[in-house]
């Protein structure tokens, strides 16, 4: 089930959507999943059409992300010195129902995301640690450093 990805350690895995005329049920993460390690926090981030939330990286936290509403583009940049994919930039578009996946971003990778749908999209993150401002770094102008155009 694990797809190849351009950035070492990043996992993208299709998630199940169970259709129902009243509204679908969307899986995300179970305690017995191979992708589960420990529970830190579940929270949501709305992304308005065209809006960009970038760039940040976590020093210790692993992100486990899905997009249950709307469509979002994620961009991941690897500048870990010892990484086999050092310098790589990975793009992935996710959303329900046709591109509903679990995206796992290990610590130390820079990432950001942009809303691509007509109305607000929703990013869910079931991270392995609870939010701690001490382990987050933000760099809004990383676009210039890596020449990335949203």
């Amino acid at each position: 089930m694990k797809r190849d990805s351009a950035v070492d350690g990043v996992v993208v895995e299709p998630l199940r959507v169970i259709e129902d005329e009243r509204g679908a049920v969307l899986h995300m993460l179970r305690e017995d999943s191979p992708q589960f390690t420990r529970f830190g926090e579940i929270y949501f981030s709305e992304v308005r059409p065209g809006a960009i939330k970038a760039w940040k990286r976590h020093l210790r936290m692993t992100q486990r992300i899905s997009v249950p509403i709307g469509r979002v583009k994620f961009v991941i940049y690897d500048n870990r010195p010892a990484s086999p994919s050092n310098g790589a930039i990975m793009e992935i578009v996710m959303g329900s129902p046709d591109a509903y996946s679990l995206l796992i971003i290990p610590p130390l990778l820079w990432y950001g995301f942009q809303g691509l749908s007509d109305s607000a999209a929703l990013v869910a993150n079931c991270a392995d640690l609870a939010h701690d401002a001490q382990e987050v770094e933000r760099q809004p102008d990383l676009d210039n450093t890596i020449s990335y155009n949203w």
Copy 2:
């Protein structure tokens, strides 16, 4: 923070919404929250406008629910023989941003929900057990038994 509720053991607690012009951040549950016990599964249930998903109850699982998109009415019916609120029916309307809350439904309570918004709403459930068909009971016609009109 714990509000009174009509059904014994049910908790409704306001959750934080951090506004941002690019899209809000919505808290749900952290490992250090008093409401957290253990992680079983996180999944989502879409609810189309007017659609009703009812009734079910869990024999062992506790539901920890929020509504990060749209508006949903939950109805909880208590027929636990030894409950101080035996016979009670509780209604609660939840949604982001003005009524964004955590709803905790202990096992053995019948519940259902209905979409109240113009477009599909999203129910998130961070339950203390992973889905197990053996511990779920469904009774679509409970409305007649308890005379509840959606």
